[in-house]
């Protein structure tokens, strides 16, 4: 196999599967079930994930004239993204049954989006990152509005598209300025170019614009305004996907850019990240306190979680990367899990929107309620769940780097956060069923959806109880980013 093909093997597999689905879709008789396409997508994702795993045995390799770098870091995120996509596909394989005739496109779009995200994590060339970003963004813009005919879905899609394009423009402008200042758009060349650039101001500006662009993608405050509306209007399984996978990819890009592109500018960007992290935590958590709509609440909670994750970035270089990687994985497990359960409870028509709609869930659907309870506890950060260990590791890294106050802010914020998660949990467990007749006790969870919930619940517990292997992978991927050849040797504190 040519090294170029090997380097992009997972992306190639996903693209081919996506194209196959697009081709097969019109061949299926109109009105027939689109489930087989869903299963094809699931197989493709599995193959993509296995291909990433296979890449792990080759160590670091380069492809396409050095624009693609496959290392433990990229494999970590490839595996994570394919796991998220797999769970999303499992939970939505029959989501559109009987409701939408265009379901086939959905599966293709999910795969294309995943391709873009994966490309983002293995590119070391900013323009290539941009291509990946665009591929993933355009797919998610469409998926956000997939419940055609509903005003909120259209609003969600348009809002996401307009603000998203705006942010991408920032990112592109940042790349241009970085090129102007350092003479390259390759991340390793940038770090070398910074050492003797004639225009450091331009480089700082470039970095700031890039952070803004990425900040939008990860919905960090103050670039978060789109998040609640988009999450509220988009279909629940899509929200599960887009609140985790594109964010994971964007965080991976930011890690690469900051830690191996601009490590020598750490004193300059650390303050910026500090402020964004603190703002995100406060705005996310305080905003979530006000919400009655569960999806909006989780949207604000995802802003807050972006803030927790950014705390890891201030732990330069110590455990910052590893803890950020681990947190991304833990957050993905619990958040996708929560949205999978929400998908199952609400169904296509979103029967359960507000917290009151969840009243008495434990009596009607005890298993779903227990699963959602587990994910909520993990989001709060209760021990023996991935959410706790992730938070613990991030704040441990921050304190190790001397950021005591950010640690205090973050952990106080998790105190605020438990209030709104608990409100939902209390509604599920303590209120009588009579308050809400929109959830039916008779409905059954399909087998793939049950598998999706089981996978995420198991992952949440596994990351909390026996995190050794995930931690090991995260720590090795951290080495891949930080000890990159050509990067400026940086004095540790």
């Amino acid at each position: 196999m040519s090294p170029n093909v090997l380097a992009l093997l997972p992306e190639i597999i996903l693209t081919i599967t996506g194209v196959l689905i697009m081709l097969a879709e019109p061949l299926l008789p109109a009105g027939s079930s689109r489930k087989p396409l869903g299963w094809l997508a699931i197989l493709g994702t599995l193959a993509g994930g296995l291909a990433s795993w296979y890449q792990l045995s080759f160590g670091t390799m380069h492809g396409f004239f050095g624009t693609i770098q496959v290392d433990t870091f990229s494999v970590f995120f490839h595996l994570l993204i394919s796991a998220i996509v797999l769970v999303t596909l499992l939970s939505s394989v029959d989501y559109f049954e009987g409701h939408a005739s265009h379901a086939g496109e959905y599966f293709a779009l999910v795969l294309f989006g995943a391709t873009g995200m994966m490309l983002m994590t293995c590119s070391v060339e900013l323009l290539m990152v941009f291509v990946g970003l665009e591929i993933s963004s355009i797919s998610t813009y469409i998926m956000a509005g997939f419940r055609k005919g509903q005003a909120s879905a259209t609003e969600s899609s348009i809002k996401y598209f307009l603000l998203g394009s705006f942010a991408t423009a920032f990112f592109l402008y940042g790349i241009a300025l970085a090129f102007g200042s350092t003479g390259s758009t390759r991340i390793d060349a940038i770090s070398l170019g910074l050492a003797h650039t004639a225009t450091p101001t331009l480089a700082i500006l470039a970095l700031a614009l890039i952070i803004i662009g990425i900040g939008f993608k990860v919905s960090a405050a103050p670039f978060h305004v789109w998040t609640p509306d988009v999450y509220q209007g988009a279909p629940a399984p899509v929200v599960g996907l887009m609140s985790t996978a594109p964010k994971a990819a964007a965080f991976a890009v930011l890690l690469r850019i900051l830690f191996s592109g601009f490590p020598s500018y750490e004193p300059r960007w650390a303050g910026l990240i500090w402020i964004i992290a603190a703002l995100s935590m406060f705005i996310g958590n305080l905003g979530a306190l006000m919400q009655r709509d569960v999806k909006r609440m989780l949207a604000y909670s995802s802003i807050a979680h972006a803030g927790y994750l950014l705390v890891a970035f201030t732990a330069f270089p110590a455990d910052g990367i590893a803890s950020a990687c681990f947190y991304t994985a833990a957050y993905a497990a619990m958040n996708v899990g929560a949205f999978t359960v929400i998908t199952q409870i609400g169904g296509y028509n979103e029967n359960a929107r507000t917290i009151d709609d969840y009243a008495g869930l434990a009596l009607k659907r005890p298993v779903l309620a227990a699963a959602l309870g587990l994910f909520l506890l993990s989001l709060i950060g209760i021990p023996f769940t991935g959410g706790f260990f992730g938070k613990f590791y991030v704040f441990s890294a921050a304190l190790h780097a001397g950021n005591v106050w950010l640690g205090v802010i973050g952990l106080l914020n998790s105190g605020i956060a438990c209030f709104y998660y608990l409100r939902l949990l209390a509604a599920i467990y303590t209120r009588p069923t009579t308050e809400n007749d929109r959830i039916s006790a008779a409905a059954r969870v399909s087998i793939p959806a049950a598998a999706a919930i089981a996978i995420t619940a198991a992952a949440t517990l596994w990351l909390g109880i026996a995190p050794n292997s995930a931690l090991g992978l995260a720590q090795r991927s951290a080495d891949a980013v930080h000890a990159e050849p050509g990067s400026v040797q940086h004095a540790t504190r």
Binding site: A362, L422, Y429
Partner: protein
């Protein structure tokens, strides 16, 4: 087979396994109750292994039944468990209260039994875990875990519509200080590179944790605040009366006292000895104020459960007073009082629960004249009251005597005034307990009892109450049985704290030690065992 090495692990995981099994079993025909009873009894029998195999000859400060294996390699987190004289009886007490809690909930919990018993067993896991963990991370994990089942028990099985509010209040009150505790723990880890308690304690004794005194001081405050809320120490008791008044009996039995007091003794004093010394005058004052404040508020309550809640505040404050006197007998008394509170408080709440089951109210004004109709209940009530009040021959007396005599001989500033104030509460406690008995059981027949057919203790209720009543007397008469282990730990803690203070503050070390040791040996001669007399002079 020698199970000494993993007895603690087995003991912690039996209730967990039980909870998982119960969650999978159907919720009908009392399966859940019998299952929970079997699991808790088995756990209790396992905890009894400890006192029978406890080695009294090992030097103080070493842990027994240890298991120390690697858990997470980086950050360095180990699965390290073990007990010493401080935690051993608390573990047994936790084991004992669980089956009694199941027995007392037999009829009180009549729907959603599965949820109830699963949460109850999880709570048991968390509490046992807290007492045996010697790795700070592991400890913190159990500590946080203990909040969830309790909050859910209150929120789901609370008595009135106010239950959700009470549960969230309880959760936030304890969760937010715990967040600061985590910051302090992480800071410690960043400085020392370990979460292992024995190592940290050694470093603390050698003053090698950090030279940044301000940071150490803040960290010690974070530790203490998190524990003090859980105890609760006056004025952090805001959650107590709501939570107690809502929670079902079995949950109330374990809600206050021992977890927080144990944590203060183990971690606050163990890792921050000199900082603890610095804050001791304040804590002594808060302890004394809490005793009087709790007793005074109990005196004016009309709701029986709120009365008992404020009584609890008073009793845990006695333990705080003893602990922060930093004398051997004070600390011994503090630990003993922690056990007393666990037993006496539980008995009181169980009896109140029985009254509620019969008459559906906690309002004292509705009661009256029950003594003739419920002879067994009134007997149990009076015995409990006598124990709580601290009558000689009962366990309460031993604890209070040790605490007050320890506090009287304390070297902490202004100890005398606060001790005198605290001792006055003996009268107040007697007043509210006896007045309550008088109003509930004597006088004219109240409104409720008039209309409802009296039912005295059933066999199951006898079974739940007798062990506690027997303990009142046994712990009152044969206190050395318990103090033998407690005194090893108490003397060690007192020595650690006083040594650190002698070094840091440049006091004459010898006079300090004498001060700390002499009252203990006196008390020991009078009260406890020859063993503790020798310990006291160490």
């Amino acid at each position: 087979m020698n199970i000494d090495h993993n007895i603690l692990t087995i003991m912690t995981f039996v209730p967990l396994a039980g909870a998982i099994v119960l969650a999978l079993l159907p919720d009908r025909d009392r399966i859940q109750q019998w299952g929970a009873l079997a699991v808790t009894l088995l756990t209790f029998l396992l905890t009894l292994h400890l006192p029978f195999h406890f080695d009294y000859s090992v030097p103080a400060g070493t842990f027994q039944f240890q298991q120390n294996s690697s858990w997470i390699t980086s950050p360095a987190i180990r699965y390290h468990v073990g007990v010493d004289g401080l935690s051993m009886w608390l573990v047994v007490l936790t084991g004992l209260l669980a089956p009694l809690g199941v027995l007392i909930s037999w009829r009180a919990i009549d729907n959603r039994r599965r949820l109830f018993y699963v949460l109850f067993l999880l709570q048991q896991v968390a509490m046992l875990g807290i007492f045996v963990s010697l790795d700070l991370f592991l400890y913190y994990a159990y500590w946080e875990l203990s909040l969830v089942p309790m909050a859910l028990l209150i929120a789901t099985f609370g008595r009135t519509e106010n239950r959700r509010r009470a549960a969230i209040k309880f959760f936030l009150y304890t969760f937010i200080p715990s967040a600061l505790l985590l910051v302090a723990m992480l800071w410690l880890y960043a400085r020392t590179g370990t979460f292992d308690y024995p190592q940290l304690a050694r470093m603390a004794a050698a003053h090698s944790i950090s030279s940044n005194n301000a940071a150490l001081w803040l960290a010690s405050l974070a530790f203490l605040a998190a524990f003090a809320v859980k105890v609760p120490v006056f004025p952090l008791h805001g959650w107590l009366s709501d939570a107690v008044s809502e929670a079902p009996t079995a949950a109330v039995m374990v809600i206050a006292g021992k977890l927080g007091l144990y944590s203060i003794l183990r971690f606050s004093l163990g890792i921050f000895p000199s900082q603890s010394h610095r804050i001791a005058p304040l804590m002594l004052a808060l302890g004394a104020i809490g005793i009087v404040y709790g007793a005074l508020l109990a005196l004016i309550q009309k709701d029986l459960k709120r009365l008992a809640a404020f009584g609890t505040l008073g009793h845990v404050s006695v333990a705080i007073l003893g602990i922060f006197a930093f004398t051997v007998s004070g600390i011994d008394g503090g630990i003993y009082q922690t056990l007393n509170e666990g037993i006496g408080g539980s008995a009181l709440f169980m009896l109140l629960g029985l009254l509620y089951e019969r008459y559906r109210t906690y309002d004292m004004r509705e009661y009256g004249g029950l003594a003739a109709r419920l002879p067994w209940i009134v007997t149990m009530f009076v015995l409990t009251a006598l124990s709580v009040v601290g009558l000689p021959m009962f366990n309460g007396f031993v604890g209070e005597f040790l605490v007050f005599s320890g506090a009287m001989h304390s070297a902490v500033a202004q100890h005398l005034g606060w001790t005198v104030l605290a001792t006055s509460s003996v009268i107040l406690t007697a007043s509210y307990m006896l007045w309550m008995i008088q109003r509930v059981f004597y006088g004219e027949l109240g409104r409720r009892p008039e209309t409802i057919v009296p039912v005295d203790l059933t066999a199951r209720e006898h079974l739940a109450l007798w062990p506690l009543v027997a303990l009142f007397l046994m712990m009152g008469i044969a206190s050395p049985l318990w103090l033998r282990a407690i005194d090893i730990a108490g003397a060690n803690i007192a020595a650690t704290v006083n040594r650190s203070q002698a070094v840091t503050m440049n006091f004459e070390a010898s006079s300090q030690k004498q001060n700390a040791a002499s009252p203990a040996s006196e008390t020991a001669l009078n009260m406890t065992t020859p063993a503790s007399a020798t310990k006291g002079t160490r």
